[in-house]
Symmetry: C2
Subunit: 227 residues, 2 copies
């Protein structure tokens, strides 16, 4: 979401995140970026992130709804999985978002690849306890799924807010990785008789299916048809 | 991929994976499944998995190509990220695959959700060192991207095999999670004036883009147009 909380000052932020030992590329340096706008755009196009944390010494990776407000990510935590409990005083997480943009078919099996855009965020997640921040976070989660939807649904009431665990993760240790373009076959393979190129992949939205309980006369909203 | 290695005997396998402390549901029990065919179908539809491991005590989650042969997953490891080095004698991983099938718009912000299918695999990954197994794993990785492609491309040569790090992860501690259907609004919200329903999401394939170096006369293969 491109909205910013009152009080944050996005204009003061540098155009790129600072690399760290964890976000510096170990290979494919040309594919890595710290550009803030690029990171935001990759995050904002996603419905789910994959949230990694350590439980009992072992890694756990769960798909999770998330939303963005400025430089903060809000993650819908499963109250049962231990994430929410562990987030006080703080839970070390790695949050990853990936879009596949194309299937890259090279002549050699070795050079097959995907065109993709991904963001990896490292940091300590904290459970949101402030009621106003929680309310804004829930709106951001809804608007991440369908931009504009939070204003056209019933806001969470006190009981729902109390039943919701949301973790906040600041965008500080962040990197993006992007692969674009065609296959990178070796020169000696260029004469091989195999088709080679890229098959583009995009998410497609089907015709909205109204709930059985939808009252007659309520049209599909513009923010849905605009998807 | 639905192919099985000669020597494996899928008919001997029980129809479901055994739940463990890590794969038993902490909530939404009705959405969790251990059904082997369901797990396979979710895995086989994916291009990438999200592989989690622990590095320096902190979680790392990276998007990674993978393939399946029977009850084994093969994961393309980044030689630079420490995965490949750490996989001898074994790397504790959590491998997760997620498909988003629909945006679920409830009348209340609280009940917004996604329809999805996910698989979470826990286990110890080992680097593949056997040359024949590595060759089969690379074919599986290619066929995961486009089924049938490995037979229509140049197989990896000795140099490429040596340059490739592949981890094997057996399907043993596995669970699937599936949400389908419409929104679950509370009875007292059914009269609210908001549109409610599901927006289906599917991956769409665009027109294949031939590589600039493609020789004239090589048609787009059937296994690509069939996507």
């Amino acid at each position: 979401m491109s909205t910013t909380l009152p009080g944050t000052a996005p204009t003061d932020e540098p155009a790129a995140y600072e690399p760290t030992g964890r976000t510096a590329p170990s290979r494919s340096r040309d594919r890595v970026s710290y550009d803030r706008d690029l990171v935001h755009s990759i995050l904002d196009e996603a419905y789910v992130c994959h949230l990694g944390f350590v439980r009992g010494g072992a890694p756990v990776v769960l798909p999770t709804l998330f939303g963005r407000i400025g430089e903060r990510l809000y993650v819908h935590a499963s109250t049962g999985s231990g994430q929410a409990r562990a987030a006080d005083p703080g839970l070390e997480v790695c949050l990853t978002v990936t879009h596949v943009d194309g299937l890259v078919l090279a002549r050699s099996a070795f050079h097959h690849s995907l065109n993709f855009r991904s963001v990896v965020v490292h940091g300590t997640a904290h459970r949101v306890t402030d009621r106003d921040e929680l309310r804004e976070a829930l709106d951001a989660l809804v608007d991440q799924v369908v931009p504009g939807r939070s204003r056209d649904s019933r806001p969470a009431n006190a009981k729902e807010l109390a039943a919701t665990a949301v973790l906040r993760l600041d965008l500080a240790e962040v990197s993006a990785k992007v692969r674009t373009g065609g296959p990178n076959d070796d020169p000696e393979d260029l004469g091989l008789p195999y088709w080679t190129g890229v098959v583009p992949v995009t998410p497609a939205y089907g015709t909205p299916i109204p709930a059985e309980t939808l009252a007659p006369g309520i049209a599909v909203p513009e923010y849905v048809t605009a998807l």
